[in-house]
């Protein structure tokens, strides 16, 4: 189910939060409402962690992560790094990387299997991404924009991209990512998808300006209507291999 909310009058939810299948990061400040909305949806399933990155609240745009790991920019302070290492589950590898393009959330879009990155990212960073996040990395642009992390949001089940993406690009990206993609908007016509929306496999949060049409597109492309978090743990448990002896 998709939830609409605001952070201090701003509808840019994806700027102030980061949601994955294993954890959720939320910015400090704003009213308690913001934090408690996330808690209400997620508390039983994944940890919701309040943090800052580099002393700022724009954590969603500075970090990139999935259930395997979290990548932080070089200006993350040691205390923040330690706090995140302590608060996140052990299987999540938290890594601070030296990369000139420090807004990792704007440069990297990923789910648990594939990542799309900014074309100018360093080779070492690309290797780090593949290593820490356990994904296959593709350098791409979206509708001519190099900030792939800003103009698309995708989970393991579907993705939403910039409204001006051509059909050919949509097909190409869909093949790379192996998920259905749709070109659309969020927050009443805003093209910066990842700023207005944050999503994982069973839930999504978007800005309160999002219209009912946009919301129904989001719920259908990310397949949120039937999804329940317990499904991943319960029904799939038989097919998940925990240890290999």
């Amino acid at each position: 189910m998709a939830t609409r909310l605001q952070f201090e009058n701003s509808c840019e939810i994806g700027v102030f939060s980061k949601l994955t299948n294993a954890y959720c990061l939320v910015a400090i400040g704003g009213s308690e409402n913001f934090y408690s909305t996330f808690e209400a949806e997620l508390a039983d399933v994944i940890p919701v962690v309040k943090t800052s990155i580099a002393g700022t609240r724009i954590i969603g745009r500075l970090c990139a992560g999935n259930k395997n790991g979290l990548l932080l920019p070089h200006n993350t302070t040691d205390q923040e790094l330690q706090h995140l290492r302590n608060s996140l589950p052990d299987q999540v590898v938290v890594q601070r990387i030296e990369e000139r393009l420090s807004a990792l959330g704007n440069c990297i879009a990923c789910n648990d299997h594939v990542a799309l990155t900014h074309t100018d990212l360093d080779r070492e960073t690309e290797e780090m991404i593949a290593d820490v996040l356990g994904v296959e990395v593709f350098r791409q642009t979206i509708a001519g924009n190099i900030l792939v992390g800003s103009y698309c949001a995708f989970s393991n089940r579907g993705g939403l991209v910039h409204p001006h993406t051509s059909i050919e690009d949509l097909d190409e990206l869909s093949t790379l990512l192996q998920v259905p993609l749709v070109a659309g908007t969020v927050n009443r016509g805003s093209e910066v998808i990842a700023a207005g929306l944050t999503v994982n496999d069973w839930t999504a949060f978007c800005g309160s300006d999002t219209t009912a049409t946009e919301l129904s597109v989001i719920e259908s492309v990310f397949k949120l209507r039937e999804a329940q978090p317990s499904a991943i743990v319960d029904e799939m448990r038989k097919s998940l291999i925990d240890t290999y002896v």
Binding site: N9, S31, G189, S190, S208, D209
Partner: protein, 322 residues
């Protein structure tokens, strides 16, 4: 989407680019042409705050328009601004400008923006001529508090103003203005980017007050016509107040001003206001060296509608001399 021409009958000649009623009149005053050939667009005002102003060295260059050569950018930008009626497409631009209207309080800002955009007869947005840019530089409008009193955003706004008013003597005035007299009160909303050229201000405010008087004649129903017969204008704005609260109006030993007005016209409004109060803001202000002795405060003023013509004259002379 093509813009529909407004219902104004004062067509002077066909204007291909702008359909705003004001712009047709403006071209008769040749204001736009003046702006077209005007020179420096980043000037400091005498009383302005240093906050947000990029002070380029005043050019002793020629006053000819510069070609847009990126490497030789010397601080002179040529821009054509156009005034338009508010449209639903302007939602995001207007919302960004009004983000801090009520400090950091969480309120129905989207609803408020919708009210402004819904009122096409009174209200102006300032954009550049070339449509692709789509950047909105300023918005002015006046909303009748009585007409919109049932909207959530107006109710929240009234509640917020009543809460922040800490001066007992004006609180009763405020309460009556927001309560029984709401039908006669216009909330004057005026927000713009910090570096908008001041030459635009007189035409912008002229446009607003002219549209208000035209609306009292042209609106389709009597109720609407009466809703624009304002007796008072209510303004919510921001100022920098000196921390030592120097209240004396006479010459003081320090050369610091008691109040620095972020928007120039606020000084004139403040002088002409019947009453006003200031309140502390919760958002942190930028700490610059010039402003270390000042605190950012909100300012609420009420100006009687009769004083509008004086305001227009004073604004014109203030801008012309600076």
């Amino acid at each position: 989407m093509p813009r529909k021409p407004t219902r104004r009958r004062q067509l002077l000649k066909a204007q291909p680019f702008t359909f705003s009623s004001f712009a047709r009149v403006a071209s008769a005053y040749k204001v736009k042409r003046q702006i077209r050939h005007s020179k420096v667009y980043r000037k400091s005002f005498p009383n302005s705050s240093g906050n947000g102003f990029i002070d380029h060295a005043p050019p002793d260059k020629s006053e000819q328009s510069e070609s847009s050569d990126e490497e030789e950018f010397e601080g002179v930008v040529q821009a054509d601004f156009a005034f338009f009626d508010p449209k639903p497409d302007d939602f995001h631009g207007v919302k960004v400008l009004l983000q801090t209207y009520l400090d950091d309080k969480q309120w129905d800002l989207s609803g408020f923006v919708d009210l402004i955009l819904g009122q096409t007869t009174v209200g102006t947005v300032v954009k550049t001529e070339d449509d692709e840019d789509d950047g909105l530089y300023s918005v002015v409008s006046t909303l009748n508090l009585g007409r919109y009193k049932d909207h959530k955003c107006i109710m929240e706004l009234k509640e917020c103003l009543l809460k922040v008013c800490q001066e007992k003597d004006v609180l009763d005035n405020l309460r009556s203005l927001l309560g029984e007299q709401a039908q006669n009160v216009g909330l004057l909303v005026s927000q713009r980017v910090v570096n908008l050229p001041p030459q635009l201000l007189p035409p912008l405010y002229d446009a607003l007050f002219d549209e208000v008087s035209w609306a009292t004649e042209d609106e389709p129903t009597e109720e609407l016509r009466n809703s624009f017969c304002f007796k008072f204008y209510l303004l919510v704005s921001r100022i920098y107040k000196h921390k030592n609260a120097v209240q004396k109006k006479g010459p003081s030993s320090s050369s610091d001003e008691a109040i620095i007005y972020i928007k120039t016209e606020d000084e004139i409004f403040h002088q002409l206001s019947s009453w006003s109060f200031s309140f502390p803001l919760r958002t942190q202000q930028l700490a610059t060296r010039e402003l270390r002795n000042y605190r950012l405060m909100g300012l609420v003023m009420v100006v009687e509608a009769d004083k509008v013509s004086m305001f227009r004259q004073q604004l014109q002379s203030l801008i012309n001399e600076s």
